[in-house]
Amino acid sequence: MTAVDETLGLPADDDAAEKAIVRRARMTAVATPLLTAVGLVAIWEIGVRAFGVPSYIAPAPSEVATTLVTEFPQLLRNFWPTLFESVLGFVVGNVAAVLIAIAFVHSRMVERAFFPIAVFINTIPILAIAPILVLIFGAGLTAKVVIAALICFFPTLVNMVRGLQSVSPQALELARILSATKSEVFWKIRLPSSLPFLFSALKIAATTCVIGAIVGEWVGADVGLGALIIDATFNFRSALLYATVFLSSGLSVLMFAAVSIAERMIVRW
């Protein structure tokens, strides 16, 4: 009787053991970076306390966390404008880049005329051009959107041109045998082929548009995470500064996640 139990029990045990091993491996993969992060924060907390570092030079993580909670209404008030500018800049910059990429692929002349200009604009540091744009568009929303759009523009342009040209010569031969028109080739072959390229550019743009919006707010704004960063710095409210930076990075993560989810839903191949 016991022998039967053992032989029956053994494979089940093996299976369970295997599952446990897989589970442990997965947990290790998640736990390792998490524990490292917790450890670093702990060292920071202990270091600040042990050496008596003044709060305005480097606040302790606990202090930043407290500020994040107590100042949450103020943080949120400044979060929305930056989110709005980032999203608007993302849309404007990428739509412009996609349209210009289509024009480039459509006509060599247009590409030859405008690509060097696009490269030149891309070489100007965003921090250098931001004040100029604020002078032109004023301290309102427009300047921030333009800066965010500008920073998104170039990677999308380059990737989209490559994506639209990524069609295999055989697919084009097939289209020719089917007597397809130029617009049919564009909508049914070129555009879908470019989507994986477009999404790699959009993932870059998802985080850089936030940088653009914040840089725009530095130069001239009274609301937004960028304005709050400047304000907190000049008033030595370091805990608030750190909390704002934390929220800015949270905004980038949010944008990136949104684009990634859209990609997974659209690019299924």
Binding site: S168, Q170, A171, E173, L174, A175, R176, I177, L178, S179, A180, T181, S183, E184, K188, I189, P192, L195, V267, R268, W269
Partner: protein
């Protein structure tokens, strides 16, 4: 007047493809030198030859992808362009060339969507895209994306796609060249079944001697540098052909004969 004559000519007896002193040149390079030949409607021709003999170029010439430098090419009595616009022929590439974002079924339907805005009349097969997938043995995989299918399955989708506009001439450029031997043998049988069921004329480029013998009623041998016609060999083996045919003495004799011809090129 000429159009009327052409239409009359395109009656019942017009050959599926006819080349008269056709030359193809790429700059200084002569890819095809003075080929004249007639492919009778409903036939199955294998095209064999050493690399550089212009096998693929010949198909591209017939399918209006490249123009002749001189000479005439006609398909069922029409110019290649007119035949292309009337969807008289379809092409199967070595690589299946499926659109990766479309399911097998949607890929088969692609020819029905293309060319519409040009206003051409698109002929439709009596069989629905679904039935065509069944014909090539892909029942149940209609909604799979190309990356979920094996190489052989992808090539079968490409064949179903080629049949969807009821072509009278099927041009195949080493369609099974990248597949393993078992899959290739299986697809050869299936292709013969399609040929027998649809009555389509087939020009089949291959670099495999057994494949050429197994499939074709005739084998068109080309010579290289420059590409020109070498010989047309009749394969007098009965249809329907079965796998056992490969082991017969006759089959081996044909293969040996073709190999000798190929070596003499």
């Amino acid at each position: 007047m000429e159009a009327v004559l052409e239409n009359l000519d395109a009656g019942t007896m017009a050959p599926a493809a006819s080349l008269r002193n056709a030359w193809v040149k790429f700059g200084q390079f002569t890819a095809i030198q003075d080929i004249s030949l007639e492919i009778e409607a409903g036939a199955f021709y294998s095209i064999l030859g050493p690399s550089g003999c212009g096998k693929s170029t010949l198909l591209r010439l017939v399918s209006d992808l490249i123009p002749p430098a001189s000479g005439d090419v006609s398909i069922f009595g029409k110019t290649t362009e007119a035949a292309r616009l009337a969807r008289e022929f379809a092409f199967v590439f070595q690589d299946a060339t499926l659109l990766p974002w479309r399911t097998a079924l949607e890929n088969v339907e692609l020819p029905l969507e293309m060319g519409r805005s040009r206003g051409i009349k698109i002929p439709v097969s009596d069989k629905s895209p679904m039935e065509l997938l069944e014909l090539v043995g892909l029942k149940g995989r209609e909604h799979a994306l190309p990356h979920e299918l094996s190489g052989g399955m992808r090539q079968r989708v490409a064949i179903a796609r080629a049949l969807v506009c009821k072509p009278k001439l099927l041009l195949m450029d080493e369609p099974f060249g990248a597949l393993d031997e078992m899959t290739r043998d299986h697809l050869n049988l299936q292709l013969l079944k399609v040929w027998e069921e649809t009555g389509v004329t087939i020009l089949f480029v291959t670099h495999s001697i057994p494949e050429a013998v197994f499939l074709g009623q005739k084998v068109l041998m080309l010579k290289a540098h420059p590409g020109r016609l070498h010989e047309i060999v009749d394969i007098d083996l009965p249809y329907p052909r079965t796998t056992e045919l490969r082991d017969t003495a006759e089959f081996t004799r044909y293969s040996a004969h073709l190999r000798k011809l190929l070596e003499a090129c």
